[in-house]
């Protein structure tokens, strides 16, 4: 192993400490046997996790957030996969700016995206809150779907599709029986990235939630304004665990390098 310069090593430790310390603090605070957020924890209890599930608003928003993440990501894949396919298949013939159009939602500050979605989808089209949230989240995660599925499709040799067609397989069927199975890993990766993005989103949701319908991160903010108790920490830990869990599944099935590729 190459020797690491001590200053560089110290710097690396510092960076990791800065990245991980807040998480350690939150985990500590979530098990503190106090009625207020504190670190280091005083006492040890899982009471706040229990309390979390006793609050109806948390239970409700967890379900909303989960369904929203599944639905929004699903909707986005429904648009994103055909878009990525078209961009990869007719790469040469399409205007060069077109792929960038699908990345725009990432480039626009999320808060602006949220506001404009509120103006256009919620008040403009007058969609019900849940529908507006669904559309908003689909737009929010669309760039991930197009990019990640697109990365897979760019590796795909389209003469494979032509081979299927030449053997008597109609184009639409060739897409499902030959193209899709070979970019499956990309679709799964896109789903996971999009799912995590959606479930953790605040900026877009805050503009689109309304009376009776909220998402978990928005509920966390609302709760914190009223009660500064360790429930906030425990729900944060829970969100973190979900993310880590999903990442672990990715690591074991596809390898994490898949997402950074």
């Amino acid at each position: 192993m190459a020797r690491v310069h001590p200053v560089l090593g110290a710097f690396a430790v510092l960076v990791f400490a800065l990245l991980l310390a807040p998480l350690v603090i939150i985990i500590g605070a979530s098990v503190s046997d106090t009625t207020f957020l504190t670190f280091p924890p005083q006492g040890l209890t899982l009471h706040w996790f229990e309390r979390l599930f006793e609050i109806a608003a948390f239970r409700r928003t967890m379900i909303t957030s989960f369904l929203l993440a599944v639905g929004g990501t699903g909707l986005s894949l429904l648009i994103g996969i055909p878009a990525a396919y078209a961009l990869a298949r007719w790469r040469g013939g399409l205007p060069a700016f077109l792929p960038n159009v699908f990345v725009l939602p990432v480039l626009i500050p999320e808060i602006v995206l949220g506001f404009s979605l509120m103006k256009s989808v919620a008040t403009g089209l007058g969609l019900p809150i849940i529908a507006a949230l669904l559309v908003g989240h689909a737009v929010l995660v669309l760039p991930y779907c197009v990019r990640v599925v697109g990365a897979s499709l760019n590796q795909f040799d389209f003469s494979i599709e032509e081979a299927a067609v030449s053997l008597g397989c109609p184009r639409w069927r060739a897409f499902f029986s030959v193209v899709l199975p070979n970019v499956r890993a990309g679709v799964i990766a896109a789903f996971i990235l999009a799912f995590i993005t959606s479930i953790n989103d605040v900026s877009v949701s805050i503009f689109l939630t309304g009376p009776g319908v909220s998402t978990l991160p928005i509920q966390i903010l609302a709760h914190m304004e009223q009660f500064f108790d360790p429930v906030i920490a425990s729900v944060s830990v829970l969100l973190m665990l979900v993310t880590v869990g999903v990442m672990a599944i990715v690591e074991f099935t596809l390898g994490l390098t898949f997402l950074t590729k």
């Binding site: 040799d157 003469s159 494979i160 032509e162 081979a163 299927a164 067609v165 030449s166 053997l167 008597g168 397989c169 109609p170 184009r171 060739a174 030959v178 199975p181 070979n182």
Partner: protein, 351 residues
């Protein structure tokens, strides 16, 4: 089952660019015709038009009695072998080969049996359960061939099938492809940029450039009697010298080149197509000699080819490449004459 392929007046465009111009091509029953040319000459476009991946802007494509022109690609029943093999990565060798049968509604058991038989035919026994990723390049190309053959198509098409293989394997595979095509008597269209490959595998070769067929004929004819300067240059007539046919005296054709030197060629072997002609000669078609009747030249750079020396020579008509005997290496600067060897010369109409 053997049918002929006929392209009549076929044109194709990419956007506003004309890539194929009014192409006529007839491939007879059981015949293998190679389309030969540099990239961008229209050979692959022709194949893709026949396959149905492109639509012609004019003309008709017929396979036997069937008009393919407006038929969707998946209904054309053509066996296609691709340069990149284009095997289905997620399927085993068996399922790759059986894919076309599955599309035709052949029952699973029958499908497996015919796939296995075809896998054996191409010499891949025991590999049926492998995935393409675990095969060598040569094995992959055999799977691709088996996959195209198993549907028993009336037409086989090959799109540079050997370009990704190493030299030795390329020669073996080319023999196998030819044998498979011959044994079945299947009509075939074969696209390549490799002249040796085209000449060795085909009944006839079409040399293409700029979206047109420059010459179509048996390899021997293209090799010895090129129709024009492009084909001549393509098949290795590296010297193309403009000349004027002056007289046809006795049994000789007399050509006069710039600077007044003349060449006499046997009239029995050469027709004179026009007054202004191009004298075409391979390097071995001009022998460097100290004296004799031929093109006066000053010898330049000499290279050793094993069977002869080759010289870059300066003549009144520019640089000419000619071979000289191993028995007598000549130094640069030597005054010599280049004596024509009729077997490796041609007289073409000037364009």
């Amino acid at each position: 089952m053997s049918v002929s392929l006929t392209l009549a007046g076929v044109s194709a465009h990419y956007g506003s660019t004309l890539v194929l111009e009014n192409l006529d091509l007839h491939v007879a029953e059981g015949e293998l015709v190679a389309l030969l040319g540099a990239s961008g000459c229209g050979k692959t476009t022709t194949l893709r038009l026949v396959a149905g991946f492109l639509q012609p802007s004019a003309g008709t494509i017929r396979l036997g009695e069937r008009d393919l022109t407006r038929l969707p690609a998946h209904s054309r029943n053509i066996g296609l072998v691709f340069q990149t093999y284009a095997l289905f990565p997620h399927l085993t060798v068996r399922d790759n080969v059986a894919f076309g049968l599955k599309q035709r509604g052949v029952a699973a058991a029958e499908r497996a049996r015919r796939a296995e038989a075809m896998i054996a035919t191409v010499g891949l026994e025991g590999l049926a359960d492998r995935h393409p990723a675990n095969l060598s390049g040569g094995q992959r190309q055999r799977v691709a061939l088996a996959r195209a053959l198993v549907i028993d198509p009336p037409l086989l098409m090959f799109d540079e099938p050997l370009s990704n293989l190493d030299a030795k394997l390329r020669i073996d595979m080319r023999v196998e492809i030819r044998r498979a095509q011959r044994d079945r008597g299947t009509t075939a269209l074969y696209v390549t940029h490799d002249q040796e490959e085209a000449f060795s595998i085909s009944d006839r070769v079409a040399i293409m450039s700029r979206g047109r067929i420059e010459q179509l004929g048996p390899p021997e004819e293209l090799y010895s009697r090129p129709a024009n300067a492009f084909v001549a240059n393509f098949v290795g007539f590296s010297n193309l010298v403009p000349m004027r046919a002056v007289t046809e005296a006795g049994d000789a054709v007399r050509l006069e080149m710039q600077g007044g030197a003349t060449l006499d060629l046997p009239r029995a072997r050469f027709a004179v197509p026009a007054r202004e002609v191009i004298f075409a000669a391979r390097a071995e078609g001009l022998t460097v000699a100290r004296e004799g009747r031929g093109i006066p030249a000053t010898l330049g750079l000499r290279t050793y080819l094993g069977r002869a020396y080759q010289y870059r020579c300066t003549t009144a008509a520019g640089e000419i490449v000619a071979n000289g005997p191993l028995s007598e290496p000549l130094e640069p600067g030597t005054r010599a004459v280049l004596v024509p060897e009729p077997d490796h010369c041609a007289i073409l109409r000037a364009e």
